[in-house]
Symmetry: D2
Subunit: 357 residues, 4 copies
Amino acid sequence: MSTASFTSNFFGTGCFWKVESRISTVKKQNEGKMFVKCAVNTKTQKPEKAVRIGVLGASGYTGSEDLPDMVAIKDTNFSDVDAVFCCLPHGTTQEIIKALPRSLKIVDLSADFRLRDISEYEEWYGQAHRAPDLQKEVVYGLTEVLREEIKSARLVANPGCYPTSIQLPLVPLIKANLIEYRNIIIDAKSGVSGAGRGAKEANLYTEIAEGIYSYGITRHRHVPEIEQGLSDAANSKITVSFTPHLMPMIRGMQSTIYLEMAPGVTIEDLYQQLKISYEDEEFVVLLERGVVPRTHNVRGSNYCFINVFPDRIPGRAIITSVIDNLVKGASGQALQNLNVMMGYPENTGLLYQPLFP
Amino acid sequence: MSTASFTSNFFGTGCFWKVESRISTVKKQNEGKMFVKCAVNTKTQKPEKAVRIGVLGASGYTGSEDLPDMVAIKDTNFSDVDAVFCCLPHGTTQEIIKALPRSLKIVDLSADFRLRDISEYEEWYGQAHRAPDLQKEVVYGLTEVLREEIKSARLVANPGCYPTSIQLPLVPLIKANLIEYRNIIIDAKSGVSGAGRGAKEANLYTEIAEGIYSYGITRHRHVPEIEQGLSDAANSKITVSFTPHLMPMIRGMQSTIYLEMAPGVTIEDLYQQLKISYEDEEFVVLLERGVVPRTHNVRGSNYCFINVFPDRIPGRAIITSVIDNLVKGASGQALQNLNVMMGYPENTGLLYQPLFP
Amino acid sequence: MSTASFTSNFFGTGCFWKVESRISTVKKQNEGKMFVKCAVNTKTQKPEKAVRIGVLGASGYTGSEDLPDMVAIKDTNFSDVDAVFCCLPHGTTQEIIKALPRSLKIVDLSADFRLRDISEYEEWYGQAHRAPDLQKEVVYGLTEVLREEIKSARLVANPGCYPTSIQLPLVPLIKANLIEYRNIIIDAKSGVSGAGRGAKEANLYTEIAEGIYSYGITRHRHVPEIEQGLSDAANSKITVSFTPHLMPMIRGMQSTIYLEMAPGVTIEDLYQQLKISYEDEEFVVLLERGVVPRTHNVRGSNYCFINVFPDRIPGRAIITSVIDNLVKGASGQALQNLNVMMGYPENTGLLYQPLFP
Amino acid sequence: MSTASFTSNFFGTGCFWKVESRISTVKKQNEGKMFVKCAVNTKTQKPEKAVRIGVLGASGYTGSEDLPDMVAIKDTNFSDVDAVFCCLPHGTTQEIIKALPRSLKIVDLSADFRLRDISEYEEWYGQAHRAPDLQKEVVYGLTEVLREEIKSARLVANPGCYPTSIQLPLVPLIKANLIEYRNIIIDAKSGVSGAGRGAKEANLYTEIAEGIYSYGITRHRHVPEIEQGLSDAANSKITVSFTPHLMPMIRGMQSTIYLEMAPGVTIEDLYQQLKISYEDEEFVVLLERGVVPRTHNVRGSNYCFINVFPDRIPGRAIITSVIDNLVKGASGQALQNLNVMMGYPENTGLLYQPLFP
């Protein structure tokens, strides 16, 4: 497997997740060997000069086969590196990033820098924030919404999967004052891969196949991230109802969002606003009126497909939004963000089409 | 396979669904042979005398193996028959039942008699009601809610699967004035078997496995049935938001219900009301506080498991309710209703426990 | 959940497996509390007097809900108990059974007593046999093949799932000298539940869904058990080729067996022999000629469905055999064996029909 | 979706299958509109000049969205076209290809030209061959085996999925006289997508999920194709035992092959021969000794992963081979063949990596 094909594989198929989930078991074996160099796929895409990218937390994934040039962080000559993806577990990332040279551009895939309010971080993650100064310069990496800020960012906090699928349709509607801020109800359904590769009974085939259940009702850690994004758009505190469900699907995520339109607003108004917001975007696709987004449509790709439907109750609307939780919901958006930060074409390495059937 | 084991198989595993779905292709081959006799399992349960039950629409299911005594309706001596399950397709049932002797007790599994308002039937099913007089004597077969009426009924309309999972938790709360009637939002997730055995591209393995999508948004035919049941409980017209989702699961159904509590009402009030309503019921089970119902808990059984959770938004509650769509959502409840109508123990033939894993 | 429904649930759904798999984690918490009393379902079946059955290794499964009367082995008054199912892990069972009163009838579901040759046990399980004297009195519990011996047995070793599905079709053909002993090739496919509920990465939904692979090629621990049974039938050492595959299925198992017929033997000869062998059996079903056994046909039931097909290569035959690995392949056959040992109707508690769809 | 991304989507994800399976329903609506032009992805790969490729039988796939320039065959100016993929149903292709200009290079994905012996075609497909003269110039498109012949071919018959997975490991071993020709036993397991998108009851989710069964025992239409390839390699008629199984998997295929080694041959000899045969190949990968091929390893990619294992029976070997039935087993190999025919880099458009998880 050549280096050239490595990058696209790495980002296109969401292996950040695998990297991340392996960390806990791997750490003991490879203590201190948590750094990997790799080159951008220079065959299929032509950035003007080669960029040297490190992946923090990639150690041990599939051994030397995929990731040949592993070195320990402490042995790394960071002058060789232009940018870093940080794939370390939640709670361990703040201190490590704090110690990195300021010359590096960083996309962090953990949750450690997603919440601007460090007291919220402490409340939801149960530990003190260890890099509050660094937090101030973080840009939240919801690419289509914050592209301009990402362009000049040094440290980007890559969004969670649920928050990505929810904010993409809601932020433009809130900004345009088209929907009420109260009683936004989100019923989300996720594939299992978001839970990582850790060996937990809850994620066994026998526990997941042929069934569904709600989990983390009102208490899922993505709640404050969702509310932060929506509140920013509203310039007003928004509290949402958010209920995720775990279902028998390796990858994929749908958020079904129930909301009240502002007085006088119609479904067509919502549709037009989303159309205007995303018609020039490559990865966020508003479907034709009446066409239902399906997770199959986006599997293995960086797309987010959305649509808006009239509810049976007058004045209400239903939005459905689908992504691949491992791509647009994780590594795909991370690469998209890095492309923006480095000034490369935003779709570099992301041209993979959905895999269907 | 003895007659004795037939009944339990028939009802325990939801084969009504298979029966029903086979009708369209079978009809041509077996025109006029749509009647089957079978005996209740007298070994495991002891009704005082044997009851003779017919199944209208069972022809051709698995041929002579399971259903040996098939005869055409026109050749049937109905004096031999005490009761009938009617498993014919929607739209064909009204005329057939109209022609049956009035001495028969009937449980109809189609949707043809579920809507009391025949203009609603015409609106949602696109054809005139052909037995409006008969409609007036129909009792809606939500057993736990309408048991007394079912006891003396001659013709019971067996509820749909979604309406069963939704009305069981909501009716007692509405009757007790504990929840607001407005903005009841129902996000439902169903396995594929509810769609029948018809060969449709939409239900192919390749179209269903590893994905999810909403369907019939606001337009699913179970909407008027749900609203009829809730409005009856409220003595006031209730309009609901109902969005079903199709997911990769053979059997099973979860309804996640988002609602506003009446002023001053707490989650504990809802819990207590459900406890009082169902503590003496065998098949509707309110779980311990905080325990999440899972479709796995009820697979292959006649149970409905429910629970109520506080929402993050003050004053709101979340209810989840799970059933096996082919058992409590179809043939299991049909048998439960017949047991009530015949004066037998209500759980006769329904002692099957969930199949897990 | 009443005691009456407990037994059928327990055996009908293969929860022995769950019991067994929980042992390792449970043991620490409940050291010494590994005994449970339960009563046979006296409602649906009527043994002449109540039998008191213990389950060794059931502690902690779902706590008091299912198994209310847990007591430690050391505190058990075994004069209260007539029979015991032993569901302890491989390697721990020999010593425990050795210490039990000889008045007890025992069905052991572990592999600890399946191999008559204790040196084979040591070779495949990597430890010395700790109860070689006890081994001599063990009867191997392949019910249809060894029923007479089981009737008078005190200690029955319940067969493994693969060996059950393979020996049932092959033993009668070998005994009748209809097939060659050389080059018996078995390609088996199993659902995941056989691997237990232990939290192993290999059994995660993401690792199992939508894929297949061979495992334990030539080295699976069921090999010596299969060869022992076939060699016994042949009065001659038989070595088989056995390759199991793990596939995305919770429960179910198919063995596809490729063999050479003895000179002059025809497919019809094989068919007739199997017909004679099993026509009076309730749980082993030879299908009509040409009908393909499917794991769906036996899911959740104690049946084994088999059939025999001509191969394209002259003189060869193909046999397929399907069981539910958790029922006929584990707890169902265990109960069947106990019924035989106690003189009860052999199908007591086993009348569950397959769950399809 | 730009034209540039079209080709990679088209071939990388096996949509030929979808194209093919849609034909029957589409034909009536689009009678005569069965031709599509498309351009090779000139961004990611750089053939020296643009090649104009037609897809016969692509009409109606997803309408104008993907395939904008559809024209009827009769209206096509073939002087605009360099090459054609023919994706028409079995039995209809011979006449259509006969009518095409001889200047076109053609890869046919149907079975119509795979069997060199037209009497075999008639026997297995039940109709006379309608282009026997054309058959004589056909090259069988098993790329790694017949690359030199494909280079100069005008009409290539693209192999079936089962034959691809079986011939790739066996042909080199047969040619090197390392295995016996008798009693080659192939137990194959396939995902459902190979059956196409036709709405058949057998392929419903409810019929496929959570189960397995053998189908087409000894009579599958891929048998003569397999035997033709192996017999060619042997210069001697080979008859195989071939039993396919249908399992719950959208895409993916494993062939488990049981064989006898020639006298004196060892497993290491087989391994070395496969190593020599494929070490310079990009898409056929012999795994490290002892590593088990998994369909997950190749999902969504053009790879074939193989390995060889010692059997427990002396002198025997077990080979497992996995492919994605829609890629290396269909459209991927078709594109690989066209690349060879046109003199392009063989991996053009095929750099997609496996999608896992």
